[in-house]
Each structure stands twice: as structure tokens, then as C-alpha cells.
Subunit: 141 residues, 2 copies
Amino acid sequence: MKITSRFTVAVHTLLAIYVLGKEYKMTSDFIASSVNVNPVVIRRTLSSLKAAGIIDVKAGSGGAALIKDADDITLYDIYTAVDCVDGDLFNFHENPNPECPVGKNIHAVLDTHLTDAQTALENELKSVTLSDLMKQLNLLI
Amino acid sequence: MKITSRFTVAVHTLLAIYVLGKEYKMTSDFIASSVNVNPVVIRRTLSSLKAAGIIDVKAGSGGAALIKDADDITLYDIYTAVDCVDGDLFNFHENPNPECPVGKNIHAVLDTHLTDAQTALENELKSVTLSDLMKQLNLLI
DNA sequence: ATAGTTGTAATCAAAATGATTACAACTATA
DNA sequence: TATAGTTGTAATCATTTTGATTACAACTAT
């Protein structure tokens, strides 16, 4: 199974706020039309990013804005904010048989390797900042 | 979302074949009782591992056995065999608005970073062989 | 006061997963 | 060669997750 598109939606949302935030009021409707998803999906994304301290959202009057330096926001922060993966990335079969020498030790043998793989992925996400993406984007606009 | 437990089930299955294969006939029922899942789930796992050239399964009389050196089977091979992830690990929202400067360029900006993260995970899985796991397991039995 | 928003709950349909039933095809062996 | 034990696979089913959508109370700038 794949990692939810909430992640790419959130990254898209932040970049939109950065690029268009000075010219337009960044309402959920506005962002939704750039990302092309339902506005409620964007509101949920904004809620998560707000809870993570990345943006501020004005209730009532509307509009979202970054409240953190783009150099200090990594893809990992966004990935965490929208809760792509709840703890472990790998599902593990629930009840290996403890009466079996393999079932009894499968976690001891496998867990660290799974964690290492997940960590490798997350470290890669930590190495990219929103600022990096903004720079890339500016070259293309 | 998480990566399907087919992966850990497959690893467990291979280790069971290794550890118990000389003493017992490794039928889907037998393996299923170690992993603690339905025998049909194991038969499907065995089918995948067989299609990947990792094991041989005797139809009719029953029993599975490794047909490849454990040094040459990595966690990545198993992960690929059971098709944990179909292509991309990260889902991407389907139709970013091409009329928007962000929507138009979001793939150009983000795709390589997502691929890098996925590659980091997969490289980690490539660095561990079934042989490594067997050695670890032998120390615990 | 009002129009435009946000925040959030409630539903819904679609997709993926793993469990399970069922049964045809196959094979060792008695 | 008849049989018992298996595999291979299709078909269902319930559960979970996802994202879309409707609905509406709460909020705020004007």
C-alpha cells in the first residue's frame, strides 16, 4: 500500500501559500482549486499544518500564512504533520506463534531492519527543506 | 498507510522453511500455524515467492524449499516478490491544476525527492540478506 | 448585520487487505 | 490405481482507509 496523498497535498499547499500568498488570500477554496481536491480536504490539511506550528490560519476571515522559516521546515516535518504513517511504516503480522522457534523470534530478527529502512526514508525526507523546493520552483516559474 | 504485512509474512515463511524445512514437510498448513494466518494466505505468499524464483513448491504432494542461495536473497527481493508497493511508494494527488504556477510544476519540484526517499528505503532492504537473518535467528534458537 | 470563511462532524463510495470457503488439479503411496 | 493429502486459484466477505461531499455552527472583517 502506498503513503497517502495527504503528504503531497500538504507540500503543494505550502508551496502555494509561499508563491501566491502575497498576491491572493489563501482560502481553502483557492488552494483547493490549485491542488484540485475538495476544499474540506484542504481545510483538514491546513488544520494539521497549523497544529504542527507550520502555518497560521485565520478562522472567520480566512487565509493561511507560514509562521516558520522555510529553511526550518523539512519534508519530514510535513510528512509528520499530516500523519502519513502512524508509527511503523511496515505492517507486521499480528500473532506469530510463540510455540514456534521462528514465530517466537521473528520480531527480534526483523524489527531493527524494518526500522532501519524506515529511518533511511525519513532521513531522506529530513534532508529537503521547503526552502529548497521554493528555490527549485522559482527557477521554473 | 502502511506497507502490507505480506512482506513480513513472506520473510517469516522463508525463515521457517530454512529452520524447519529439514525436519518437517513445509506445507501451507504447517507454515500457517507458525505465522498464524490462514493457509490460503500462505499459499498466495508461496506462489509469489515461487514466481520470483526464490522457492520451489511441489503441487500435489506438497512442501516448499529454497532454490536460491540465502546469500543472494535480500529483503528487497522478498519485498518485490510479494508486491508490497506497486511502483511508487508515495501517492500523488491526481490532477494538480496546470493553470496554476504551483500545480503546473509540483511534479517537477517534488518527484525526485520522493524517489530519493523511496530509494533510500529500498537500498536499506537490499543491504540485508536472508542469510543475515538466518544467522541472527540461529543465535536465538 | 452580513457575507465569506474556518472547523468539524457525519456520510458515502471506492479500494485494499486479509480471512475464509470451495473445489479442481495434482502426486506420492498404500 | 484408488485414495488421502496438497497446491493453485477463484469467489465472497468484513474491515479499514481514503478522499469526496454535505451540512452547519462558530467566527471575523467590513
